[in-house]
Symmetry: C2
Subunit: 476 residues, 2 copies
């Protein structure tokens, strides 16, 4: 059933076009979340709404594009714009939407009573939404795995049929032009890095890791005997012009820098591959959450620009669950074969039933359906956090960093001690991490990393509200 | 249906009691294999058979005990001795039993035609019988796994309920007195060793590995930066009196030395733990195939003698399949907790569904039933190889080494080049490995390692027959 809503409950305060588009988008989000706008309801055309609000049509088009990308709206060919279906299997929002006034948190020892209620808000990063995995989908995958007898001598590259399916998946989702011979099934990003370090890095070799960057990457490389060199990133990601010429390998996250959230622009990508060509370094591209962008599509993988000098790592740990312990590595067939030959000596083996289950999730389309549902869910949670932390009352020096993507935001605290906020939030039942653990050296940014994978939308809202209150009280 | 066989088709040539017992056992085996004795048939009592054959009752009792242990016979309480049931799901013997004369292999390029027939005999070691895994058991385990939603934040120790079940399993099967806090779920023996090395070994530390010994253990320790010291073993296992005083860690296989097959006697076990106490070394006990003994029960695990200085490693890779990629580590609760804390930085994670599947296999009794069936199957294959290689015609200098246990035998070639036999066997379609790869230094024994996990009983027979022919032609 589709009904058209000419009376969209939106008002716009005069401002620049971007700000007005954001106002419209925020109010449509709130209207959907609070039930004022229902699934399948048709929105006014951009022309009509622009006329009603007295703004330019570009402002409305921009707002709609954002809401499309976040998954709130869907288009039907030739027939307009509609409120998208709420993803099945996800818990419906139980808390009142943020837009309505919320009672202030009681001053009593809230943290304790929340704990007693099992009501903690977990904003730790890197944890996908386990409850979002549809039980029927999960059962199907493992039922399939149980039907496959184990091989006597498992192929150290991974199951051939899974490698073929991964090559197809990477072609359609990331534009990689690869064959099964390029693909190794791994136990995830870190295990891929262990393997690469064993093959490419000799004790004492200098290897680069983004600063700030993924702590496990640093640890894996350090354990392989490498000397880890922190390589500065800014809001756009790694800075190629500052890279030393003597690195054996560079670990980088061009799609969505971890943790700061920048997307490496094309010019830097060219400079990065040129640097690798010139110095003989291998660039390891960790594409850990390219599946989750909520504004524009991701750029093609760096790997496509120069497969000779880049090794690509992907994982199901973010799209699905780290409990699966599976990922993939893409390199030249020669390097892939060499890595496969080293696995026995590294105790590096992906259980075959896990590979069969992943194969079933890919061939059935279940994994991609799951990713689409999660994209919508995470976009909502992200919007809830960002909305709360950019409202009037929060000092403007506390900035939200990073692209509209992924499963976390970074909040820059501009000199205010992060540990203090972490402790205050914990007292109110909200678990957040400081940013300093992502730095190998002295932190260049004080801040928090706020993950929204582990907590439901209502809990994310509550956590964001607690943080907003804490921040609003800080004298700046 | 049970019928009694008074007319057991056995003759005994006069010899010592042990030899006469072995003659009886061999003929009963052949009678069962060839169908002369059927499942459920009742054997004469030891008293009757001893009288019939004119031997002492001890001779017959010894023969029966051996056949019991190997799984050929079963007793029913108070009602005698019967031919055991052939394990369901195992292929029935298709080839004529070895006891009957076999036509010599044609001189034509046999290897090629066998290859064309997909008829190679794979006697590589370390591969359990994948086809022996009952499809229904496997399906049940993974169906259960599929019903368990993944956790958001998997416990790095392993699933608590699996650790509790493993503690019970290790208590009843190996007599270990442990709690769940002692147990870590691992990805297998090698991954347990990676973890221990990361926790206990600093670069340059000296660590001991049996010589000959498990090549992956050497490689894992070497990659951790250790200096690997070969420690001599003899027919009984490691020689504690020769161990240096400056080892940080010693990797050993006391239940069934890998690959030579000795079982460490009690005196040496005491000497070994005393050495560890005196020097401060940690002894790592790899109990990789203690489940498969075909004569007498295994000794209790070394771990039980002195839990303070011993870490115990077990695996499902031999009892079930390496495709599962799962094992367990038993250490003090403090060390286990410390190891668990290091796993993230080592990319060391056991997929949760795999843990749920193993839990289902343990709680249902399916794993132990499977082990019992495989014990019978491997005992038969072992007997087939040992029979073939100890018959008249094979030079007496070619000795079969090792206890009646496990999934392989070592054939000592006493100076004859192993590579030559490997090549000749390969030409006839039989894959065997030389023993030299188990030595870090110059091989002290020339020989072959013959695994019987990967090939069916008929194929094992054929492979053993090919080897016997090859050996019989060697001038000594």
């Amino acid at each position: 059933m589709t009904t058209s809503r000419a009376d969209l409950p939106v008002v716009v305060h005069r401002a620049g076009p971007a700000s007005m588009a954001a106002q419209i988008a925020a109010q449509v989000r709130d209207a959907v979340t609070s039930g004022v706008l229902g699934t399948g309801e048709r929105l006014p055309s951009t022309r009509d709404l622009a006329a009603t609000l007295g703004v330019s049509r570009t402002v409305v088009t921009t707002a709609y594009a954002q809401l499309f990308a976040e998954g709130w709206l869907e288009g039907r060919h030739g027939s307009g714009t509609y409120v998208a279906d709420v993803a099945p299997g996800l818990p419906a929002p139980a808390a009142p939407p943020l837009a309505t006034a919320q009672p202030p948190a009681p001053a009593a020892p809230q943290g304790l009573s929340e704990q007693a209620n099992g009501d903690l808000v977990d904003l730790r990063p890197g944890i996908p939404w386990a409850a979002g995995i549809e039980p029927a989908m999960w059962r199907r995958a493992w039922r399939h795995a149980g039907k496959c007898q184990p091989s006597s001598w498992p192929d150290p590259h991974g199951l051939p049929e899974l490698r073929a399916e991964l090559a197809r998946y990477l072609r359609r989702s990331r534009g990689l032009n690869v064959t099964p011979a390029h693909v190794l099934v791994t136990r995830g990003v870190s295990s891929g890095l262990v393997l690469l370090a064993a093959a490419l890095v000799r004790p004492g070799d200098r290897v680069g890791v983004e600063e700030p960057g993924y702590p496990s990457a640093r640890e894996v490389l350090r354990r392989a005997g490498a000397q880890v060199v922190p390589c500065r990133v800014d809001a756009h990601g790694i800075v190629p012009g500052e890279l030393p010429a003597d690195l054996r390998l560079l670990y980088t996250t061009p799609a969505h820098q971890y943790p700061l959230g920048g997307r490496l622009p094309v010019g830097r990508r060219q400079a990065l591959t040129a640097w690798a060509r010139a110095t003989g370094a291998v660039v390891v591209e960790d594409d850990y959450d390219s599946e989750f962008r909520y504004d524009v599509g991701p750029l093609p993988a760096l790997y496509s620009m120069d497969p000779d000098v880049i090794v690509y790592l992907g994982t199901a740990s973010k799209t699905l669950t780290p409990a699966l312990g599976t990922g993939w590595l893409v390199a030249s067939p020669a390097l892939s074969a060499r890595l496969a030959g080293m696995r026995a000596g590294l105790a590096d083996r992906v259980p075959e039933p896990v590979q069969h289950a992943l194969l079933a999730l890919l061939t059935s389309g279940d994994l991609e359906r799951h990713i689409r549902r999660m994209r919508l869910e995470y976009a909502r949670r992200r919007a809830a956090i960002v909305d709360a932390l950019t409202r009037p009352g929060v000092p403007g020096t506390f900035r939200v960093l990073g692209d509209t993507a992924g499963m976390h935001v970074v909040l820059e605290l501009a000199g205010h001690p992060a540990q203090r906020v972490v402790a205050d939030a914990a007292e109110r039942g909200v678990t957040v991490f400081p940013l300093d653990r992502y730095f190998a050296g002295p932190p260049a940014i004080d801040g928090l990393i706020l993950g929204y994978g582990a907590a439901s939308l209502p809990k994310v809202r509550r956590g964001a509200s607690v943080l907003r209150d804490l921040l609003a009280r800080i004298p700046v």
